[in-house]
Amino acid sequence: MATNIRMFTKKKLPPCCAACPAHVNVQGYVSLIQRGKFKEAVELIRKDMPFPAICGRVCFSPCEDACARVNLDQAVAIRALKRIVADIEREKGRVKPEPVQKTRIEKVAIIGAGPAGLTAAYELAKLGYPVTVFERMLEPGGMMRYCIPNFRLEKFVVANEIAYIKDIGVEIKTGIEFGKDITLESLRNEGCKAVFVAIGTQLSRKMNVSGEDLEGVIQILEFLRAVSVGQHVDVGERVAVIGGGNSAIDAARTAKRLGAKEAMILYRRTRNEMPALPHEIEAAEREGIKFHFLVAPKRIIGENGKVKAIECLRMRLGEPDASGRRRPIPISFSEHQYEVDSVIPAIGQIPEKSCVPHELLDEKAKEALIPVDEITTETKIEGVFAGGDIVTGPASIIQAVGAGKQAAFSIHRYLSGQDLRAGREEVEETTWVKDWESLRQKSRRYEAPTEKPRLSFEEATRFLEETKRKAMFEAFRCLGCGPCSECLSEIDLCERDKAVVDENLCTGCNICAIVCPVAAIEKNENEVAQVNEDLCKGCGICAAHCPERAITMQRLTDENILTCALTALRRRD
């Protein structure tokens, strides 16, 4: 693992990295993939978060949404790249990391082995804390292990990532329920100095329509959990899944795999408003799952205590609501029925109130979510932190990872007796591109290069070698919006080279500012060129064009280049 430390305090991040809740160094690992350094790329991802393979499969990839390349053609397939490097590493056999030395004595307890809890444990273990994670289920992993079906996220992938976290020295105790086997009190008595509560939202939200207690109505989380541990679930021949999120799609696809002849998804808005990932929706369509849009269940009709049909109302879309999506409005007298054998409502999750200690909750709030300080993730009780779904309500893995990192940072400062609010960097999005129009024209000026494969999610699962090349090609599309040093100097030449102006020679002709691709050079008040070191990427184009040769590069000077070239010549003599 590279030992290099960031050479400057970074405030400006490329859009992908800034958009990621965990601020994973996207530009860094993409540029490593460009060079074929797959192993280093995984290690770089692991510096920011412990789940490269999991996020490579199921992340909703805010990085790709933010990618500046969309202004040119399409976003870089960041998630697929992450998956490829993680898979290659696993195929080749992951090298077991050395456990991190326990340099701290303060014990930290983490409740819940989901993405938030495991990330916090991972970050704290890297800092040398003895960390114990308590998990109610028999296996760690939380929703990643139990609620994402195997065809989207294989169990061995989750096991492998968690094994890495264990390898660096995190202790995970399973089968221990918070509130029963352990409490905040008992943990404190055992000597835990800080507790991180990341228990997630473990109950399915009810639809509140009549007939919900009939046989054949299966709650989404129970359904997915049962299937993931290998229990047989009888869904009958026709299944209706209510909802438009990823878990609804997962449930429908799972039901189809369990033998249902017909699986349908009923969603009260249209396809455009569905929160599920587009490629998941496409996959479901390919598998023959029927989508009924603009319908909402009114009641479930039973016969002999079993589900017989579901009655729905048609909807139309009204004004946008708080979530920014258009609100569905029922159309009167539009009742119609679908004959089904089972109904799986997948309309959201709520926290399990009985698990959460009362003293952490806000009594007035409708739901049993834990209120925390937005910056520090502290709860009402000192030394107790919370994060993940239990704070935000059901969200995504990467948001939970972000919360885990944030909490780990706070816990570290808390245990070191530092100000919890200090030391946090504000993230600012940056891209060096001066003018998209000229960039677009540029791509038209030349004939398109040899065929350029777009890496799709499906392709990523194909042959490794072929994929590797495609991955490099795909990574090559990255524009590298952020300042250099993003890959933390894994690429030897990049070691933060920068332009230096000799002020005595500079005549202020401004050519450097014209040729600089990243707008890092400006004339200062003395009419002398000045290099903005935060932006300079060390390309050296200015040095090659300076009429007075007043600009030199710090590392790769003209003399160095010449020496390299001449040594090359001499060697041949």
């Binding site: 090559f476 390309c539 050296g540 001449l566 010549l569 041949r572």
Partner: protein
């Protein structure tokens, strides 16, 4: 022509070069010659002076490899390299070295096969051209002087400003709102390259010993009046000064500080 392996220096963009490239190049069977790669952050980093100096020190050929447009890591670095190469070829044409000894080619990190093809083709081209007159112990004095003059011209303000501003001048209007076409600009830079080359050569010749206009006119095969115009300009710039007058012929010497 010669049985020797051509001496080729290959400047390559850091973003084209990768582990696969390295292993492909190091496989001897694949390449009929040694090639030594000097990596740069971007091919746009290449300073014309460096290339000319490489020639001066006896390289048979210089190959520049950058990213295939429009895929430059630094947006237009490869296009800047293209302009630099255009200027270098102009200068090389004046030096009696074949401009074909310098080539700029595009590649990308996963196209080892294409890269090997580029290298092989270039080596074949070098074989055809033969060893550089500047290679080995006794370099050709005349060519050497020419290349040195070209090098000084490339280091000079005027040509560097023109190459640096080429994009700006040909794609936008200049400060007077005039449009300069690419052809017009090419003519302009061609002229400038010639002038600068002649002046730098005069300077180098005058540094060896004081020279007269007549003598220089023979070297350049130009009218003495044209040479005199250069001399006048150079005196004004402080490049040369009157050394002495022999009979009625003034002799000029180079001044050390330009």
């Amino acid at each position: 022509m010669s049985a020797e392996k051509p001496k080729i220096v290959c400047f390559m963009c850091n973003w084209v070069f990768c582990d696969e490239t390295e292993s492909a190049i190091s496989q001897e069977q694949q390449i009929p010659f040694d090639v030594n790669v000097v990596r740069l952050m971007c091919i746009g980093r290449i300073d014309p002076v460096v290339v000319l100096e490489t020639f001066e020190r006896g390289a048979d050929g210089v190959l520049l490899i950058g990213c295939t447009p429009p895929d430059c890591h630094f947006v237009e670095g490869n296009l800047y390299a293209e302009r630099t190469v255009k200027l270098l070829k102009r200068l090389l044409a004046l030096t009696d070295l074949e401009p074909e000894r310098l080539e700029l080619r595009w590649s990308s990190p996963i196209e080892e096969v294409r890269l090997i093809q580029i290298l092989t083709d270039f080596a074949a081209q070098m074989h055809k051209l033969g060893t550089s007159p500047l290679a080995g112990e006794g370099p050709d004095e005349k060519v050497l002087l020419n290349v040195s003059a070209a090098k000084s011209a490339a280091a000079d303000f005027r040509l560097r400003v023109l190459t640096g501003r080429e994009k700006e001048l040909t794609e936008n209007l200049n400060v007077y709102g005039e449009e300069i076409s690419q052809e017009e600009f090419d003519g302009l830079i061609d002229d400038a390259a010639k002038t600068e080359f002649i002046r730098q050569k005069i300077y180098l010749l005058a540094r060896q010993k004081p020279r007269s206009v007549k003598e220089l006119a023979i070297v350049f095969q130009m009218k003495p009046a044209s040479v005199l115009r250069h001399i006048v300009d150079m005196r004004r710039k402080g490049m040369i000064a009157l050394d002495r007058v022999e009979e009625t012929t003034p002799l000029y010497k180079a001044l050390e500080v330009q």
